[in-house]
Subunit: 282 residues, 4 copies
């Protein structure tokens, strides 16, 4: 049986913050991605992470992306991803690592994915998105067993990872055996109606529409998931469900006055959206 | 007989998107332009293409323009136009190629125009704007016969291309013989009242005003045309008519509270404009 | 007798544009300034020029300023000011040259001021602002006799240029002899109540307030003057008066809800301001 | 006895400016910080300083931060902090020096902190924030005796500086002996309820909430303090109290419609906030 997501998940997860708390309580999120071609992707993920409430956000990217990032998100810190020593230190200090948005498929990207998968530990939650998923599939890599891992493929990326052909995805999807073989704790399978798989079962998102069919939407979703996971000390599945629901619910609201929803605007709108749905329970 | 454009064209073309659709369904638009002097032009074209609903937008430009592009349009991907191999691959993957906005008249620009005209095939629609039109005229190049080609000259550029002197343009304009000689499928002749010529005949735009007399307006129009052509599976002439009409209708609305209409603001306003005029037919 | 400026000057100068007109009719404005330290100044001048209705705006500046300029004003074109050949061509094609905003006092700036003063002809209007005024004073340069010249010093800069000590400026100010000696056609002397001197006499601005005491206000004024002079075919003194009045009237309006008025916001607000004050006479 | 801050402090400090005044009357604020990693911090401090009414703002930073700074704050001037000669001249010309926001802990940062502490004189007010506080503690440096010094540590930074362990801070805090030993004239100790210590006693801020737990909030506060100190000729303690109160009061207002308050938006909102609280007394 597939559970349907509804607005209730927001009130459950987006709780009022305790008065006496600090940025360190809301997660240090490290976003790794953005090569010379896809730098906008990691910037949009950073916008989303900051606006969704991450306590601290650091972007590790190609140095050509520093200026544009800081023009849009001065709140984010920047690490040149070619400096591996600094990057590995950053991973150790992080609570959440988002790997893959706009990172491309270059040799360096491949080596970086391998290096990051080795460095993360049980102290981090790992969110894997975009080209990092393709790299994991192509290189037959394993997600790290001791790190809680959330993967956010669209259907073609899932086909590469799971070896389940697109046509069969609706029937087979992800069962427990597969989940354990791949070391994916939560799978967010992006499709017409996004489905979330975890050991808690399967949840479907009925909301959303074709106004979301814009390059960059996935990067923003990944940033929101990373921020939610970093700050909400809660059942992990429900936290991811809330992130997925929030992303689409805000898009739906924006679609009332936009033919398409620009991902960068959606990202910046999260702080306001969350205020309207936070519960007063803390 | 010259047909007059009116608001009806918007409802015909800007239809509600089918629910189960993906960014790939709305066109991969490649924008080639922007040298060290005119980088703002290609950025404004990209703003327009993203805001008008293109599924994916890639900009190929001089690398000095990457930061400003991503500051304004993180949704767009970036290719350094000096890397010809990557650029040619991008062309092959594109549904629409916009060539010329702010690309200048350098030797490199000339060689690039020649190279792009050779690379495009029947799989792409080609939109040719700005300095690429001057280069085609100066170098006596031909538009590719197998590629559907839309040219968007202003009157002086048209004079260069067609060898029809400015004074005679109102009388002669473009007839079928000329259209076939030049391999232009649709001509958008920008003048006081813009006229669109195609095998379907001739359409005139009565709307618009002198608040549009700002550098950059043409770049935004080119971006809108590219996005429309990439996403609306429709009679091509009517799709271009809708793009031309939308560009000017939004300018007219903005002119109610602006002495001049800034092209960059017009570009960003398209997503909202289109929402107000979309038909519910899908 | 000193004439007081009032709102009437706006209706006289900011006329409705004729329907059949082109960006070439509204002036090609070239802004020269912005070294490695003061790049923001030329960007704010460009924002003001574009928003105030200049048909075409080109910025000649240090190349480090290109990205930030295009992030804020993609409508402006960019020329690296170290390429003198291109710069001199740009001057020849311009209707208005604004020289000096944020250009600094380096050796290169000095040589550039000398070169520009030699290149401008009777076809250009010259607006001289900021450090260019100090350079002209220090180097004992002359403004070009055949070019209509507008100088916009604050009091200390005027002291350097005119050799009239600050204490005596209220008594002496600029008489016809001085105006002719310095080859300044219009002097905009920025002080508590700005005064405009020309062969038409003397006009004072009573409006304005201390919320304008923010670095960058003068750069924005220079950009507005350049745009007005480029587009309004009118008595030159009144055109400058309208620019000065508009700059301060908009600041006054913004001060109703801002403790200080940010020059960059004032610049972007000009298109809206002008719409509210344009006359329907054309 | 600990005094509680309330809205009254705003009316006392944020007075209407005298009509006949100039940007020089409102302070030249020099902000030193922002390395290759933390460039966003100094940009947010600059946004805050400009929006809060500083007459002139100069940023001394790593040159990689110039473009993003000018994209967001063209009002600020820029000095490459590796050019020590120019930087020392800038210090001499400044009324307020803010040292430390996002400057990191590199060898160069250490040498720079030492150099700046030697260069400031009785003519400047010094605000020390962020990593500069850690450097002062690690290197056992002294704040300069002849310069009025405001330190803005959070609790961990204060522990390093004062050698008072975190657990004991509530009991001991800063007494007169410590204040004189460290040469800190005003201590702004950032914690759940921020406390301000000076020779005038101790003031506590009850306002504020966990929506402020976002990286960058401290940088914005430092920028507001620098701007207030530069422009308000007033009891220094009360001026700092007003800055601290304003920063949090605006955050509280923004939290009504934002789950978290983005520091960059708070910074830009200061000009409007101050207009609503200025007194008409001048």
């Amino acid at each position: 049986m597939v559970k349907q997501l509804n607005e209730g998940i927001l009130k459950e997860v987006i709780v009022k913050r305790p008065a006496d708390s600090y940025k360190g309580d809301y997660g240090h999120v490290l976003l790794i991605g953005g090569d010379k071609q896809y730098g906008g992707a990691i910037t949009m993920a950073a916008q989303a992470a900051v606006s969704s409430g991450a306590g601290l956000v650091t972007v590790a990217s190609d140095s050509v992306n520093r200026s544009a990032l800081h023009s849009r998100v001065p709140e984010a810190m920047f690490v040149d991803w070619s400096d591996l020593e600094v990057l590995m230190e950053q991973i150790d200090r992080s609570d959440v690592v988002l790997l893959g948005s706009g990172m491309g498929l270059s040799e360096y990207a491949v080596s970086l994915v391998k290096r990051v998968l080795m460095q993360v530990s049980s102290k981090q939650v790992l969110v894997v998105d975009g080209s990092a998923l393709t790299i994991v599939a192509q290189e037959n890599l394993m997600f790290p067993r001791e790190t809680f891992t959330i993967a956010t493929p669209h259907q073609v990326e899932w086909e590469r990872l799971s070896k389940i052909q697109l046509n069969y995805q609706h029937e087979i999807q992800m069962n427990d055996v597969q989940r354990q073989m791949l070391n994916i704790d939560i799978l967010v399978l992006k499709q017409h109606h996004t489905v979330i798989y975890s050991s808690d079962g399967q949840t479907e998102l009925e909301q959303g529409g074709p106004y979301q069919a814009v390059g960059g939407m996935g990067d923003v979703l990944a940033g929101i998931i990373a921020a939610f996971v970093g700050q909400f000390k809660f059942n992990m599945t429900q936290t991811v469900e809330a992130a997925v629901y929030a992303h689409t619910a805000l898009a739906d609201q924006m679609a009332a006055y936009n033919y398409i929803v620009r991902p960068s605007l959606l990202a910046d709108g999260m702080a306001n959206f969350m205020a309207r749905y936070q519960s007063n329970f803390d």
